[in-house]
Subunit: 500 residues, 2 copies
């Protein structure tokens, strides 16, 4: 894997300086094309062996490019706000918007590799992290991003030579620390681990460029040319998403049985019983969210449903039981300008709650496979890949001690009509019914199909969907509160056991 990067590549000063001016001018021009088109984001990872020229390369890029449109991230130890969220949160928040170049010195590869070399994790942990990385990069690429990953390599003997030379010179001696020699002693382990990582994660969308790091001029020219040519290609052709899909968007219809139609829409709760149950459940939720162990977890509650299915009322029954400082309701509407300059999932990542808090999403990332699918707001490829992206996203939340509950509030077509008409007649609820609601209603069957596909593909053992029969609002609210309480209680008990 590193063979070509140990050949002793070298450039003379004259050769270097001959190429440089044209390269720099072309780079800058191409960057301005990127800036003015704002078509995609560029993610550059700069990594490699100690002394292979990482810092120097990052520096060079900032010198060659217009630094106003470059964001460089060092990614040292995470802040407490970052530690409260899944590992990838800090990378999501650091993503450059479309038109900009984000340089990561220290990336989603750094910690997994270090931990493995230091012997703190198993090979299977490393592989799991790498799967997550591949997934992340594939998602970025699917959103149009250009991803360039550089690995600057030094042979073992070259690394030794370099350290000794630095130590010999009184002016540079301070640059060599015990950590450097320690890493040198781990050279073979590093090599083995990184070879494994580079092999696993060199994908078509995000390949690794292994560059010999010994000679600064060679290394720099390689870096500049790879960047220039990749930018050029991506600007010309690169970021159109594929249009043909391998699989079927939905299963063929062979009989008449279907998830939503199988729901018993007559389920209901009498008013008296409702009030008793509601009070008990709200009390239970209040206690659960005030439990000291609640500070160690967080809750993400997703609400989707037919128009007028009663999401708002159900949400208020949850928040009404909680300390207002411990929850947040995020209503999902059209994305803002800043959100449109990022991958689809970015606007959900940004709202993830800190530990000890519950976040209600009133509509959610499932919009992609519901309204966007049905209304054709995105391509078939985009919503088809979303199922997978969503499952991966939720798996990361759960891995980070987040409780994920997802509710689909289902009402019958007749019940919806009744509610729409009632809304139109109540002045106070008038704002709640729009032209769009009536239009959506015309596509009832398409939405049903989309919901069934969504449940089939994203109701996982770790984050199952709860289908809520919502023709009777009281029944729906009780079912939702009970499901939520059970999920939180289970998570708290699991922690209780851990502490034993």
């Amino acid at each position: 894997m590193f063979e070509s990067a140990e050949l002793g590549h070298k450039l003379s000063k004259a050769e270097y300086e001959k190429e440089l001016p044209a390269l720099r001018e072309a780079l800058l021009n191409t960057q301005y094309e990127l800036v003015s088109k704002k078509g995609f984001q560029v993610v550059i990872i700069v990594s490699g062996v100690d002394g292979g020229g990482r810092s120097e390369s990052v520096h060079l890029l900032n010198e060659w490019l217009d630094p106003r449109h470059v964001e460089t991230h060092g990614m040292g130890s995470p802040s407490d706000e970052e530690r409260d969220r899944p590992v990838m949160w800090r990378f999501w928040r650091a993503l450059p918007p479309k038109g900009k170049i984000g340089i990561f010195q220290g990336s989603w590869y750094s910690m997994p590799i270090l931990s493995r070399v230091y012997g703190n994790t198993k090979l299977s942990d490393l592989d799991e992290s790498m799967e997550r990385n591949i997934f992340f990069e594939k998602m970025l690429a699917d959103e149009g991003a250009l991803i360039l990953k550089f690995w600057f390599h030094l042979s073992k003997s070259n690394q030794e030579t370099r350290l000794k030379a630095l130590e010999k010179d009184p002016l540079t001696r301070w640059r060599v620390t015990d950590r450097d020699w320690h890493h040198y002693s781990l050279y073979d382990k590093f090599q083995k681990t990184t070879a494994h990582v580079l092999r696993l994660t060199s994908t078509a969308q995000a390949q690794w460029y292994i560059v010999e790091g010994t000679d600064e001029r060679y290394r720099s020219l390689m870096l500049g040319k790879i960047l220039l040519e990749s930018l050029r290609r991506h600007l010309d052709t690169g970021h159109a998403p594929p249009h043909s899909i391998g699989g079927l968007p939905s299963l063929p219809k062979v009989d008449d049985r279907q998830l939503l139609r199988a729901l018993d829409m007559n389920l209901n709760v009498e008013k008296k019983e409702y009030e008793k149950k509601l009070e008990a459940l709200q009390g239970r939720l209040a206690l659960l969210t005030r439990d000291p162990r609640f500070q160690e977890i967080s809750v993400v509650a997703v609400f989707e449903g037919n128009d007028a299915a009663g999401k708002g009322g159900a949400i208020r029954r949850i928040t009404g039981a909680m300390d207002a400082r411990s929850y947040q309701v995020v209503p999902i509407a059209a994305p803002t300008e800043e959100e449109r300059a990022q991958p689809y999932m970015w606007r959900f990542w940004r709202h993830l709650p800190r530990r000890g808090r519950l976040c209600v999403f009133d509509r959610s990332w499932y919009g992609r496979v519901l309204v966007e699918r049905v209304e054709g707001y995105c391509s078939e490829y985009d919503w088809m890949r979303a199922y997978n992206e969503i499952n991966e996203f939720e798996a990361q939340l759960i891995e980070h001690d987040m409780v994920v509950v997802k509710f689909w509030l289902s009402i019958s077509k007749d019940e919806q009509l009744t509610r729409f008409k009632a809304r139109e007649q109540t002045a106070f609820k008038h704002f709640k019914i729009t032209e769009e609601d009536w239009r959506n209603r015309e596509k009832w069957d398409d939405y049903e199909q989309a919901v069934c596909d969504m449940v089939d593909r994203t109701s996982t053992e770790i984050a199952p969907w709860t289908l809520v029969e919502a023709n009777d609002k009281r029944y729906a609210r009780i079912k939702i509160l009970k499901t939520l309480c059970d999920a939180i209680e289970k998570a708290l008990n699991r922690r209780g056991k851990k502490a034993d």
Copy 2:
């Protein structure tokens, strides 16, 4: 001050329930009007004596209002990311966008009051914090915000009665902590301090509502009615900024002397000397920013100047000397949608650097008193108040160990013409010259006047402007680098002394 709030206000259940339904419906309707108009942001502070009903009131507001458009902030201890920035940063980042209601239980009043009562600060510190608060609220109000500040009061005997009652009941005993009795023992001190604070900070734009907290029904109805009536008034008339200004926008012209014309535009540096000096200064900057003490400060460098004055080139000479992970360049263009939903200064606050970092603003908050003034993008009142707001903003940065340097790059009208023409002829620089540049040029005199006013009003002893004679790019770059190095060195030395 608290007289009316110790009268023993009380409502019967019947009286309360008679009023409630209409109040709730009106509140919700008014909130939806706010949501749909998105005209202004609402900031509600809920504070008061322990046991006066703060949490209950926050809870109630969340129950009465649609929680999807309410953001509640508890504001406990600051995170490390927050401690790295000036005190007010965490409140700025928590501001609700226009159309939303932000409830602060724990606000910019909490820490100053507590610190004073605990005896950790002097009265003059408290007064300083209050001045800052008044300023902040005035700015919010000028940006159209509706600010409501509630203080829930309990008399000393009522507080004692309440604590004892809670302690007597085995079910509520846990709610009374040592801290509660400690605060009770400090009751008189609290009273004295808060009376002082409420008096100082009850301004026309943001008055305090002191509400007797003993009776829950009375307290709740007061809260709801004040909110409803204030929202109604603000929706109908409230948030139009004043249109007549007391003072003169600029000093009358009595002679011909003027700041910019007094600059010696012939200043220049020979190429050889330039290269020597540049290298020395970049080396100095590199060392300064790698000094361990640099991790304790941060630097904000502001670049303003005539079009084509060479800001970009000067910035690259700074960033070129630094580790790419320790700086960030923020180019200021038109505000995004999320930024437009916030007060003017919000989009600058959000970019403030953490400790150990330098942030270059390529154009800045001075846009308000330059391009926005000259082009009429904001009202005279808006840019007139901006001087004061800017000075206050920069004072907060400096107080938080931030070094603030501000450069105005000045070129002559002839030199600009030469550069514009050169840009038009170089394909590579073509993007750098637009119609707008030519249009701005026609308003040369207006811009000159705006620059002189800006310098007169915002070149403070703590954050002075550096006027840079930029007809010669080499001279300009050297002057800028030297000024920056001197400022950082001074800040480091100051810390060095502190550590002794």
